[in-house]
Structures are given as structure tokens and as C-alpha cells.
């Protein structure tokens, strides 16, 4: 047997270990780490190092393409497994809720204020313009605006949109509507985040636009003397929802700022660091919008008292502010 090729003998001696590693990896990739026995777990690092060194040797002595391709693929797979993330999804979510999300929001205070400025600036602009001259409402919303909540509506009609009669509950129409709104809002939030890449300019526009939409609607109700009631109706979920939209805009500005003004880093590195932070915020916005949709779908239909609505709105605001901005001890590492 001494007449065998050196590269063939090399392979013969090691291929059992390679295949063993292959088997462990396949098992781990299919069902996660918990599928592996202790013995396999212990063998993995040794087999991995062996495969990597086999690859280096094979590259320099063997001309068998199949062996080299196999080892390349095996080493790549095992590298990603050995050095890959080891946290479970549950742990990851807890980490997100307890630490990552509030930290990301806390670190982006200035972008948040900027986003709030654009959003509420648009709101105030539309509100005061409409109060002066209701024609502005049609300019903002277009002439063929379907919703009955416009300057021509009666006070009674407007009041009826704010409070729900007992009989209406349960036909599910509002549930469908609030889920539609969630869909819409969440998509806008993700949009505001993604558009940040274009230096944040479209994000600013999106915030102003949404502010104008709500501000002009607000003016209609205010004009008819329903300002107090409408605020309660809007804010019971609006505190959460609008906060989420502002934070999504802030996430967009974080990215836009990092791409436009990378500072000491390269533009790529700066975008990467900002992207991680902003993505955490955008994910948080989705969570907030889910909560807002629940408040909207159930809270608003079941609670018809203005005072209770204001209490709910106030407590959600306090909750979010405490959750995001009160400094907390870093968890023991």
C-alpha cells in the first residue's frame, strides 16, 4: 500500500473525523444546539480545528478538487457554527426588552427631539392654518376625501365618531379597522426608518406629512368645540402610537446622520454602528404599535368616559418615559 498517493493517504487518515464533524454540524443546523449530546459538544472544537488545519495542508499538497471543496465548505460551516451566536430567541427577546431597546432610545435623545419637532411642527402648522381658514383642510386632504370627518360635518356626527354606542360593540368592524391602522402605521414606521438612509430628508418629510394630517383633523374637531373630547379619543392610544412614529423617525435620523456625517469612522463603519442602534429602535416601534392597536381596538371601544381616557393616556405616557429614560443599573455581566 506504500504506493498510494501522499494526498490520498492524508485523506484516508482524516476523513472519518471530517465526516463526523459534518454529521454533528448537520444535526446542529437542523435542530439547534440542544440536539447534540455532551460528547458531540466536546468533540466539536477539536474536530473543527482539525478540519481547518486539514484544509491548509490539503491546499498545499492535494490536487483533488473534491476534497478541497469539501473541506472549504466544511470549515466555513463549522466556523459559523463555532463562532456563531449562541443565544436562544427567548433570551434575545428578554435582552431586547430589558436592555437594548431602552438603551438605544436613550442614546438617541437628540434625533428623537428633532423627529418630534418635525412631527409636531407639521401638526401645529396645519392646526393653526385650518383654524384661520378651513379651506386649508381641503388643500391637505384633497377634494375627494371619503371620511365624513370634515369641516362640513355636524357636531352630532363628529361626536358620534368619538363615542361608541353599546350596540356597536362586537360587530368586529372596529377591530378590523384598528388592525388596518396598525398595518398602515407599522409600515409607515418602518418606512421612516428605512428612508433615513437618504440622509434623513424623506423621513423629515414623512413626519411633517403625518403631523399635518392629524393637525388638520384636530382643527376640525376643535373648531366645533370638541377639542377636549377629541383629545381623549385620540390620546388613549395616540400617546403610544405617536411616540412610536416619532421614535421611528428618530431611528431614520440616526442612520441619516451616520451616513451624512460619519465623523472619525469610515462611512461604512459609521453606518453599521448606527444601523444596529436604529434597527433596535424600529423593532421597538413595531412593539409599541402593537400595544397601541390593542389600546385602540379594545380600550377605546370599551371606555367611553373622557376622564378614564385621559387617565389611560397619562399613565401610558408616564410608563414610556420611565421605561425609556430613567437610567437603570446595567445587568450583571
Amino acid at each position: 500500500m506504500s504506493d498510494l498517493l501522499k494526498s490520498y493517504r492524508f485523506r484516508e487518515e482524516r476523513q472519518a473525523d471530517w465526516q463526523r464533524l459534518d454529521l454533528i454540524l448537520t444535526k446542529a443546523e437542523n435542530g439547534g444546539v440542544k440536539n447534540l449530546s455532551d460528547e458531540q459538544m466536546l468533540a466539536l472544537p477539536r474536530l473543527y480545528r482539525q478540519a481547518v488545519s486539514s484544509l491548509s495542508v490539503a491546499r498545499s499538497i492535494s490536487l483533488d478538487q473534491n476534497v478541497i471543496n469539501y473541506l472549504e465548505s466544511l470549515c466555513t460551516r463549522s466556523y459559523f457554527f463555532v463562532y456563531g451566536a449562541r443565544t436562544t430567541l427567548g433570551e434575545r427577546m428578554m435582552m431586547f426588552l430589558r436592555q437594548d431597546w431602552p438603551a438605544a432610545v436613550r442614546q438617541s435623545l437628540w434625533p428623537t427631539l428633532l423627529a418630534a419637532f418635525f412631527f409636531f411642527g407639521g401638526w401645529a402648522l396645519a392646526f393653526f392654518l385650518c383654524l384661520q381658514d378651513m379651506e386649508w383642510f381641503w388643500t391637505f386632504h384633497g377634494q375627494n376625501f371619503f371620511d365624513g370627518r370634515n369641516p362640513d360635518a355636524t357636531v352630532e356626527y363628529l361626536r358620534s365618531t368619538i363615542y361608541i354606542d353599546e350596540g356597536d360593540i362586537g360587530d368586529g368592524q372596529l377591530t378590523a379597522f384598528s388592525s388596518f391602522l396598525f398595518n398602515n402605521n407599522a409600515q409607515i414606521a418602518l418606512f421612516a426608518f428605512a428612508l433615513g438612509f437618504a440622509f434623513g430628508i424623506p423621513t423629515a418629510w414623512l413626519l411633517v406629512y403625518n403631523g399635518v394630517m392629524i393637525g388638520s383633523m384636530y382643527a376640525v374637531f376643535w373648531d366645533k368645540g370638541l377639542g377636549y373630547e377629541f383629545t381623549g379619543w385620540l390620546m388613549i392610544h395616540g400617546v403610544t402610537e405617536l411616540f412610536a412614529i416619532v421614535l421611528a423617525g428618530a431611528a431614520g435620523f440616526v442612520i441619516g446622520g451616520a451616513v451624512a456625517f460619519p465623523g472619525g469612522r469610515t462611512r461604512l463603519a459609521s453606518a453599521r454602528v448606527a444601523g444596529q442602534k436604529a434597527a433596535t429602535m424600529a423593532m421597538g416601534c413595531v412593539v409599541m404599535l402593537i400595544i397601541a392597536a390593542i389600546l385602540e381596538g379594545f380600550g377605546r371601544q370599551l371606555i367611553n368616559s373622557d376622564v378614564v381616557r385621559y387617565i389611560v393616556a397619562g399613565s401610558t405616557l408616564v410608563f414610556w418615559l420611565v421605561y425609556f429614560y430613567v437610567p437603570r443599573k446595567a445587568p450583571d455581566a
Binding site: M1, D3, L4, L5, K6, Y8, R11, Q15, Q19, A28, E29, V52, L55, I61, S62, L63, D64, Q65, N66, V67, E72, S73, L74, C75, R77, Y79, F80, Y83, G84, A85, R92, D171, G172, Q173, A176, S179, F180, F182, N183, A186, L190, F191, F193, A194, L195, F197, I255, L268, A271, R272, A274, G275, Q276, K277, A279, T280, A282, M283, V286, G297
Partner: protein, 318 residues
């Protein structure tokens, strides 16, 4: 083994002349190798070994995306149909609630399908898995969940935005706005084509790229078949005969032996026989001849590699 013959064939007159056709083919092959090597990135592991990562091309990524979109639509439509069927059978009154559930479900499939799969151990959506691709962190470190979120939320401007502008129309002004927007947002969509790492905007923001990580299987070593003593004695090639080809031809021969039809094998065998002036012996099959020649050639070339002499193809004269 006899004593090692001189390293190079001295007889340069027998060197195959570089015909026009061969030269063109060789140049094309080298251009192709160049193109492939541009897509290779070296990753040095903490153990100090280099792993070669091959970046996925833009077309492969597009292909994987198409598959994923098809799967997403299949999920959404199937759930929609299933839900409406159940509602119709049980309680027609709650159609609104069912619609609400379906809408939320639609949102999650649209945005979290990619995230769900890429956060997992394989870091690849089903579409990527089918094409043997996976997502990896650009610095070779861990692929964090935040990166996965970032690269997928950005998809909104790469796909969603151009789509919305394309749907925009109506009056003349709207159509022009739509066209302008389409061109603007097209920059995001076509971003992967214009950078050497084939990153899309999401990859850029997330610090990731998409690499090829196909599963390879370990096949039989061809030389193991030729190592049997009786074949060994029948095929005794002279050193000159094993000098006829080089690494590239050896690899082609390996491909022929591993995956081609008997007809092609027969053609290749006859060409090699002519080239090395081998007379066919009694009862010799093409497969046996090719395997034996492969073994002899590889032995010869591997010896030369050990002496630091890599001859890449038969035109490589050193």
C-alpha cells in the same frame, strides 16, 4: 519508483503550439478565473487559518429573493383562503375579525419572514438555502440579531419604494412624479450591482454580506480505484507521458470522471491516448484508462507541487 526525472521537459519542440483557438479559449478561461477571484474574500479565523468566502452574485440574490417572495405569497394566500373557509363554515358574522387577524398576519409575514429565518442557526431564508447562500457579518464576527433586523427593515426602501412609485400614476403630473421617484428609488434597488461586495443598502447598514456556503459531499478518491495492483501494473506511464498535462487539465479530467456520460469519457480517453501516444492494450476500458492516467498525472503533479512548481495549464512553460 525510479529516480525523479528532470523537472522540466527539455524538448521544447514537442511543446504544443498555441493555436489561435486555444489561445482564445485560454484567455477566456483566465478572464473567468479573474472574475471569480474578484468575488472571493479571505477570512482568517482566530486559529490563523484562511477560509475563502465566495460572495453571492447579484443574480443569485435576486433568484433567492424571487423564491422567498413566492413562498411569502403562498403563505399569505393559503392562510387567507383557509381563514375564509373556516369563517364561512363556522360563523359568517365574524368576517371582520378574521380580516383583522389576516391583516396583522400579512404584516408579520411581509416583514418578519426574513428575520425569523436569518436569526436562526443557518442564517438563511428558504430561498437562500435552496441556492446555497447565507448571511454573514462582514467583519467575520457574529451575526447579531440587530444586524438581521437592520438589513431586513431597510428592504422597505429597496423594494417597497420603487414598487410604490411604479404604481403611482393618474394624471400627468403624478406620472412624472412617479417616474422621477422610480429613478431615484431605483438607486436603492440596484445598489448591489454597483459595489464590489454586492451589498444591498440593508447589508451596508447592517454590516453584513451574503456569501455562498453550499453543502459539498465528500466523494470517493478516484485514485483509490486505480490503486489496485492489477491495474497498477497494466498502466505504466512513462515520465514523458505524465508531463503532457497540468493542473487545469487534471481538474477537467476529474470533472469528466465524476460527472460525465460514457460517450464523453470515450472521447476524452481517445484524445488523451493520441496526445500521449498510448496504444490501447487488450481488454482495456476507457474508464480504467482514464482513472489510471488521472492517478499517474496527479501523482506527478503533486510531486512537482511539493518541490514548489505549480504548472497551472499545459501552455504554462517554465
Amino acid at each position: 519508483m525510479t529516480a525523479t526525472p528532470p523537472l522540466k521537459p527539455v524538448d521544447t519542440t514537442r511543446r504544443p503550439g498555441l493555436s489561435m483557438e486555444a489561445a482564445v479559449q485560454r484567455r477566456a478561461r483566465m478572464a473567468e478565473e479573474m472574475r471569480v477571484s474578484k468575488m472571493v474574500r479571505r477570512l482568517v479565523t482566530p486559529e490563523g487559518a484562511a477560509i475563502q468566502l465566495r460572495l453571492a452574485s447579484a443574480s443569485e440574490r435576486a433568484g433567492a429573493f424571487m423564491i422567498d417572495i413566492a413562498i411569502q405569497w403562498a403563505i399569505v394566500i393559503a392562510t387567507g383562503l383557509g381563514l375564509s373557509f373556516i369563517i364561512g363554515a363556522l360563523n359568517p358574522g365574524s368576517a371582520n375579525v378574521a380580516f383583522a387577524v389576516w391583516l396583522v398576519f400579512f404584516f408579520f409575514v411581509r416583514n418578519f419572514y426574513y428575520i425569523f429565518f436569518e436569526i436562526g442557526q443557518r442564517a438563511a431564508t428558504p430561498g437562500k438555502r435552496i441556492l446555497g447562500l447565507r448571511v454573514a457579518a462582514r467583519d467575520g464576527g457574529r451575526l447579531t440579531a440587530n444586524s438581521v433586523l437592520a438589513r431586513n427593515f431597510i428592504r422597505e426602501i429597496e423594494i417597497g419604494l420603487p414598487f410604490q412609485f411604479a404604481m403611482m400614476g393618474g394624471d400627468q403630473v403624478g406620472a412624472w412624479m412617479g417616474l422621477f421617484g422610480l429613478i431615484w428609488s431605483g438607486i436603492f434597488l440596484l445598489f448591489p450591482i454597483f459595489n464590489k461586495d454586492k451589498m444591498r443598502v440593508g447589508d451596508l447598514i447592517a454590516g453584513t454580506w451574503v456569501i455562498k456556503a453550499p453543502r459539498a459531499t465528500l466523494m470517493q478518491d478516484i485514485t483509490s480505484a486505480a490503486a489496485r495492483p492489477e491495474t497498477n501494473s497494466r498502466f505504466a506511464f512513462t515520465p514523458a507521458q505524465t508531463e503532457a498535462y497540468s493542473i487545469h487539465e487534471l481538474h477537467v479530467l476529474e470533472d469528466v470522471l465524476r460527472q460525465s456520460t460514457p460517450e464523453i469519457k470515450a472521447q476524452v480517453a481517445s484524445r488523451i491516448r493520441t496526445k500521449i501516444t498510448w496504444t490501447r492494450t487488450e481488454g482495456e476500458t476507457d474508464l480504467e484508462f482514464l482513472e489510471a492516467y488521472y492517478a499517474a498525472l496527479r501523482r506527478r503533479l503533486e510531486q512537482r507541487i511539493l518541490l514548489g512548481d505549480r504548472k497551472t495549464d499545459k501552455y504554462d512553460v517554465r
